[in-house]
Amino acid sequence: MLSVLALTSVVLLGIASQCTAISVYTNWEKHVQVGSDVRLSCSFFSWHWTSAEVTFSWSYRPDGAKESVSIFHYTNGAPYIATKGPFRDRLEFVGNPNRRDGSIMIRNVDYNDNGTFTCDAKNPPDIMGHPSNVRLLVFEKVPVQAGVITGAIIGVVLGLLILVVAIYYLMRFLVARRVFSLSMRHGKKGKGKEGSQQRQAGPSK
C-alpha cells in the first residue's frame, strides 16, 4: 500500500515537472518616501532544483513611457548592473540566488523613479513562465495603508475579549477542581476519624 502510494507520487511529480511552469513572485505595489531606500523583492517557485544557471532579470518602465529598459541581470553566478540606465550607481543586488531570491535595492529614490519594475526569473530547464510586475509609488509622506489600523483595532479588541472569556472559564474550572479535591480529602479524613473513635469506644463497653 505504501509502496503504491510512493510510486504514484513519484510518477505524478515526474509528470508535473514537465507540464508546470515557473512562477515568479513580487509585491503588487511599493509605497516609499522620497529619499529613502527601497528593496524590490523577487522570488520564484519551480518544481526543479535551483540550478547553477539560474537567471534574474529586472527591467524598468517609467510612468507614461511605452518602452522598458533593462536595468539588472544576474547570470552565471554574477550580477550585472546596467552602466547607462537611470539606476546605474543606485542599484545594488541584495538577493540570494541559491535561496531563489533575486531582490534588488534602489537607494535614494526620487519622484522620477515612479514606474513599473518587472522581474523575470528563469531556472533551467524550467524556463517557461510569466514575469511579474511591481509598481513603485514615491510619496512625500507615505499614507497609511487602507484598512491596516481598522484590522488591527478589530483584531486586538476581539482577541482580548476571547482571552478574557477563556481565562474566566479556566478559573472557574480550576476552582471547581480544587473544591472537588478538597471535598474528597475531607470525606476520607472524616471516615478515618469515625473508624478510630469506634474502635476506642468498643473495648470500654
Partner: protein, 160 residues
C-alpha cells in the same frame, strides 16, 4: 411577561438594524452631488453615481478608527443577541442578564467612540454640506444601545 420579553427582543433587533444601517449605508456626509460614508465616496457625474476613494486630506488614522469601532459595535450587538437567547434558557431563576448587558455595554462604547470621533474630527471647515442619514442613525443607536444595556442590567429572570 411575554410582552416584556418581546419588547426587549425587538429593541435589541432595532439596535442591530440601526447599527448595520449606519455602518454600511452611504450617507454620513452629503453635499449636492457627493455622498460620503466612512468607507468611500459616491460622486454624481450627471449621468450616474461613481464610486471613488475618500480624498487624502481626510485624516486616515481617525477614519480607520471610526471604521473599526463601528464594525466592532455591530459585532458586539449581534453577539449580544445570541448570548441573550442562550441566557434565556441557561440562567438560573432570579438572576440578572449580566453577560448580555456586558456585550451591549461594549457595543454602546464602540459606537459612541465612532460617532464622537467622526463628529469631532471631520468636516470642521466644510460649509456646503450636511450630515446624512447614517450619521443620524449612528447617534440614535448610541441612545438605543444604552437603553438596551441598562435594561439588561436591571432585568431579572422570572422566579416563577
Amino acid at each position: 411577561m411575554l410582552v416584556l420579553l418581546a419588547a426587549i427582543f425587538i429593541l435589541h433587533l432595532a439596535c442591530i438594524a440601526l447599527l448595520l444601517a449606519a455602518t454600511i449605508h452611504n450617507a454620513w456626509w452629503m453635499t449636492g452631488g457627493v455622498s460620503t460614508d466612512i468607507w468611500a465616496r459616491w460622486v454624481w457625474t450627471g449621468v450616474k453615481w461613481n464610486y471613488t476613494q475618500i480624498p487624502t486630506y481626510y485624516d486616515q488614522e481617525y477614519l480607520q478608527a471610526v471604521q473599526a469601532t463601528s464594525v466592532l459595535a455591530c459585532i458586539f450587538c449581534i453577539l449580544g443577541l445570541f448570548v441573550f437567547v442562550a441566557q434565556l434558557y441557561t440562567l438560573p431563576k432570579g438572576k440578572r442578564f449580566l453577560f448580555t448587558g456586558a456585550f451591549q455595554l461594549l457595543a454602546w462604547l464602540c459606537i459612541m467612540i465612532a460617532a464622537s470621533i467622526y463628529t469631532e474630527i471631520f468636516h470642521k471647515d466644510e460649509k456646503n454640506g450636511w450630515y446624512g442619514a447614517s450619521f443620524i442613525l449612528a447617534w440614535i443607536s448610541v441612545c438605543l444601545t444604552f437603553i438596551s444595556c441598562v435594561t439588561y442590567f436591571i432585568l431579572r429572570k422570572k422566579t416563577a
